[in-house]
């Protein structure tokens, strides 16, 4: 019963976001601010984890491919498809659920507890439109960009690791990268990226927006929002794979 109450509250929050802005200029400013916070703010961690994901995938794939019948270029192919299909969208989104999600939940939670949301409401501002919508839109714009970048960096990281540790030469790795490429996989990765971006932004926004209590509850709701987001990302990951592949 409690689940349905919360789910209903979440849907009403999403519905409540769509209202006429009091001053579109201010909303645009807030949207751009969120794009910088989510996009540029998460860039360093995305770059680091992507490079290492690609590198580790290369080393581990090479370790498992012991048969001389399998060509070494297959490593490049496996790294490419792993990064595009699973590692970049899912792992990066899970990391972003921690980085971006906890920030959204704690920011909104703190605004709720310190009555800043009430102050905006009293001014006549629809706080769902002003505070929640720009975050979700910014996530929908920036997270797919980050995931695309992550796929490129992961593959490049894998290629560099292969070359540096003499697993496969770069030209052979490149042959693998080019063989049997399916453009459909990129669309699949982007579908995942948009779905996960929505989860990563809207779930923490819900937990932060409706927090009650004090600083302890802000921390608790931030943690819960990350846990719920991660679970939902994995469930959505399976659902999308089952539906689209």
């Amino acid at each position: 019963m409690k689940f349905f109450t919360k789910f209903g509250q979440y849907l009403l929050m999403l519905k409540g976001m769509f209202s006429r802005p009091e001053n579109p200029k201010m909303y645009w400013k807030e949207f751009m601010h969120q794009c910088v916070e989510i996009g540029i703010g998460s860039l360093p961690i995305v770059v680091i984890i992507s490079l290492f994901l690609g590198a580790v995938t290369t080393v581990q794939t090479a370790y498992q491919l012991v048969s001389p019948l399998v060509p070494a270029s297959t490593i490049g192919q496996i790294v490419r498809d792993s990064m595009i299909l699973e590692l970049s969208p899912t792992v990066v989104s899970i990391v972003l659920a921690g980085v971006v999600g906890s920030k959204i939940a704690s920011e909104l939670g703190n605004m709720r507890i310190s009555e800043q949301i009430d102050a905006l409401e009293i001014m006549g501002i629809n706080t769902k439109t002003y505070l929640v919508l720009p975050k979700i839109l910014a996530a929908l714009l920036m997270i797919p960009c980050l995931i695309t970048l992550s796929a490129f960096l992961g593959i490049w990281g894998g290629r560099t690791a292969a070359n540096m540790s003499s697993i496969v030469a770069s030209d052979i790795f490149d042959i693998g990268l080019r063989s049997n490429f399916l453009p459909k996989n990129v669309w699949f990765a982007l579908s995942k990226a948009y779905t996960f971006a929505f989860i990563v932004s809207s779930i923490p926004a819900y937990f932060g927006y409706f927090v009650t209590g004090g600083s302890l509850e802000i921390g608790r709701s931030s943690t819960t929002s990350v846990v719920v987001s991660c679970i939902l990302i994995l469930v959505a990951d399976y659902a999308l794979a089952a539906l689209l592949l």
């Binding site: 009091e22 001053n23 201010m26 703190n110 310190s114 009555e115 800043q116 009430d118 102050a119 409401e121 009293i122 001014m123 006549g124 501002i125």
Partner: protein, 264 residues
């Protein structure tokens, strides 16, 4: 003028407000007092529309807040200024940006005009030169003053203050109280203050409403409150022995003054 008519509010089984009727007059400081849990903050939140009452109405100069359309409500809210207990300043913005925010959102003034207006209200609350400071860099009393500046920057018709003196020393409390009183008179606005500070009551209480267990128990001016015979109100006002003694001394002096009028 704000009229509260037959207001009722419950949370679950617990009734917080029970048939509350108040009339808050324009140009006066209307104080809602009462001990913790008496329902004064819930009453304030119902009046400003943060809570929807179960029954009853809140009427702002003839316009019912509850029956108003979405657009009317938005318009009405732009005529409301509010000072929160914790000031509710936006942490990431400087003092200037905090005060400028309502101007940016609701007016088409130029940047220069907005800055002029910000400086005007900052001067009004004696905070000149604090434009570039962050809320974390100023004291509690200063935060309250910035909160008042933000509340009055759009020239509101109604000013609400939720426990404006909480966490402040008596001297700073007095400054805030006098500021609220002066602004009420200067801007001719309807001011509603929720407090349990008896100093505020005596300093600015033009009209006082005493809440007890979700009901309005007593109403009157700060001159009348000291002579009230209401048992519950007296229990609240004269909670300490010191205040009991002060009351007795005050009564004694007043009786003495009556017997021996001062030489003019």
């Amino acid at each position: 003028m704000i009229e509260v008519k037959n207001l009722k509010k419950s949370f679950g089984d617990k009734t917080i407000l029970n048939d509350v009727n108040l009339v808050m007059e324009t140009g006066k400081s209307n104080l809602i007092i009462g001990s913790s849990g008496s329902g004064k903050t819930v009453l304030l939140k119902c009046i400003i529309g943060l809570f929807t009452p179960d029954e009853g109405k809140v009427v702002y100069d003839g316009m019912s807040m509850i029956d108003a359309s979405k657009d009317e409500k938005k318009e009405l809210r732009q005529q409301i200024g509010m000072l929160f207990q914790g000031s509710a300043l936006f942490d990431s913005m400087t003092v200037e940006k905090n005060i400028r925010f309502p101007l940016d959102m609701f007016t088409t003034l130029t940047s220069g005009e907005k800055l002029k207006k910000v400086n005007e209200v900052l001067a009004r609350v004696n905070m000149e030169g604090a434009n570039k400071k962050l809320p974390s860099e100023i004291s509690g009393g200063m935060k309250k003053r910035v909160g008042i500046a933000r509340a009055i920057v759009l020239n509101p018709k109604y000013l609400f203050c939720d426990e404006p003196n909480s966490g402040l020393d008596p001297q700073t409390s007095l400054v805030i109280d006098r500021l609220i009183r002066d602004i009420t008179l200067e801007y001719k606005i309807t001011t509603v203050v929720v407090t349990h500070d008896m100093n505020s009551v005596m300093e600015i209480g033009d009209h006082i409403f005493y809440m007890y267990q979700g009901r309005k128990q007593w109403e009157g001016s700060n001159k009348e409150i000291i002579r009230s015979n209401d048992e519950k109100l007296n229990e609240f006002i004269f909670a300490s022995d010191f205040l009991q003694d002060a009351k007795q001394m005050r009564m004694m002096h007043e009786e003495q003054d009556k017997k021996e009028p001062a030489n003019v």
